[in-house]
């Protein structure tokens, strides 16, 4: 796997501006058994348009890193800065809870290994669920938009079915559709193929590659080493630190060969 981490830096272009900067990110959990340091000072710059694979063993800090990027969990020390296209920079952990929710709602789509769809609601309803309660932007997308997103995922024929009637891969496509509801520039996915068979995982990965072609940025946690060559950037996390970084490229290792 180490060969994927060989560095061949490509100078960033305008389309690939600096998007997220993590500096000295530390996360300590206070547990009954004492303090546990999940992240030990992570510093990394991520660019718009990158397809970032966060790779590492269970417990290495991969999901914690995602939570720091989305602001889902509080940072212990350090900073996560988001640069928007107008050149405005936001230190997301300094935002109030409401502003953070608005920032997240506008900029980040989140996808989970276990889909997190509500089984009692049909696919359209799942996608139309309120995306945010803060009231600062549209709480609910229209039914038309939901169906448009389902069509994009080739699920329009299933629009009014309950999740129980579709396969795992189809459920994950619904979750992707939901994450795209607000058209966020960044997609964050935690083991999105973890509960899918290889063939289905492949179709989900292809969807991600299409979203990258459209100019989105994806940060994905995975255990699956077979997927590694297809990221444009790989971060290997070991014991809360980045132990290998393949560097910023415009194309994947697979394409470089």
């Amino acid at each position: 796997m180490n060969s994927y981490f060989s560095s061949l830096p490509v100078p960033p272009t305008n389309n690939h501006r600096l998007l997220i900067q993590l500096s000295q990110v530390v996360k300590i959990y206070n547990t009954a058994a004492g303090d546990f340091t999940a992240l030990k000072g992570i510093t990394v710059d991520l660019h718009a348009g990158e397809f970032v694979g966060v790779i590492g063993k269970s417990g290495a800090g991969k999901s914690t890193l995602l939570n720091m990027i989305t602001g889902a969990d509080m940072i212990t020390s350090g900073e996560v800065v988001f640069n928007d296209p107008d050149g405005k920079s936001t230190s997301i952990h300094k935002l109030s809870e409401n502003s953070l929710a608005v920032w997240r709602g506008c900029n980040v789509g989140i996808i989970h290994q276990s889909f997190q769809l509500l089984p009692m609601l049909n696919l359209v309803e799942n996608i139309m669920l309120p995306v945010d309660f803060s009231g600062h932007y549209k709480r609910r997308i229209s039914k038309e938009r939901a169906i448009e997103l389902l069509t994009l995922m080739e699920l329009e024929d299933h629009a009014y079915k309950l999740p129980a009637y579709i396969s795992g891969g189809q459920k994950q496509r619904v979750a992707i559709a939901r994450s795209l509801a607000n058209d966020p520039p960044i997609i964050v996915a935690d083991e999105p193929t973890g509960s899918l068979d290889t063939l289905t995982a492949e179709t989900i990965f292809e969807i991600f590659e299409k979203l990258i072609e459209q100019g989105r940025t994806i940060i994905m946690v995975t255990h699956d080493n077979n997927l590694a060559p297809r990221f444009t950037r790989r971060l290997l996390i070991t014991d809360g630190t980045i132990t290998a970084d393949s560097g910023f490229h415009l194309i994947s290792t697979q394409e470089q060969r």
Partner: protein, 371 residues
Amino acid sequence: MNGVENAPMIQLRQVVKRFKTAAGEYIGLNGVDVDILAGQFVAIVGKSGSGKSTMLNMMTGIDHPTSGEVLVNGVNIYKMSESERSLWRGHNLGIVFQFFQLLPMLSLLENTMLPMDFCNAFSPAERPERAFELLKMVGLQEHANKLPAAVSNGQQQAAAIARALATDPPIIVADEPTGNLDSRSSEEIIELFYQLVLQGKTIILVTHDPSITKRTTRTLIISDGKIINETVAKALPLLTHAQMLKVTHLLEKKVIPAGNTIIHKGEHIDSFFMISEGEVEIVLEPAKQEVVTIARLGEGEFFGEVELIHGGNSIASVRAAPERPVKLVVLRRKDFTEMLVGSPLTEDAISRIVQARMAENRAADRRRRWW
């Protein structure tokens, strides 16, 4: 018995569910009949693929039976339209899942408010306060404004339970609610369910977790799409599920009025009797007008095995206790013998009981002689 309070909360009548797959038709449920009463805490157990989750999906209306009927709280849920059912479900059922299914972009409070928003239950002004109260009840008051990713799995499941309670439904169903939790979080979640049962909720859960079945009032075992007779499961726990199912099919049911004799001493016995409901008394009648009760057996216990194993006629009389009728399930000699051959563990266990009972009988006999 109070007719209203004891009316079944959930009734499955001859429920069949077939799935069409690429490999052909697959039978998920093969004619399931079951009544679940209000206030019961029921575990549905069985091997993977036995039909547990399918049965739960029949009760929630998340899936449709191929044939048969499902009545929940007196309503035939498959006679409604999909949208009626959706609304009905929102008001009557709280559902908890193995993987929580909390929306990642919403705080725990917002997740808990969702069902109220969706069903238009409680006024919009009341909803945040109610959601907070529910989170407080499950011990999450300090985490109400956090996102699911920022709390532990156990806390996410507690939030999912708070969400399931949002519309104050009478029934809570849960599919493997502790399947993704460590043992300590599991204990806390089970305790939460237990508290809800004490508050009068009816709870049905599918589980693999023995620490749950210890707390439930009732365990339904599913094997091969059918429910194993609950008396068989209780009386003969060492059989495999497949063996229990086979015995279930061979049973004959009997109801004996209170006080009536089931077996007379000295009678030839050709059956194995298991008690489903009520109690029986094992009695000796050493002399006319004299009756010595040597044992009282209740639900899940059995009699007749001594004679079947040792041969000979009944060593005592057996009668229904005087308080109420007794319901029995009965297995014929040939089927009983076959069952023991197939299950050495069961044979061992029953032999030990036979020895203990014969010793008791001899002791009772001696007492009588000295009388």
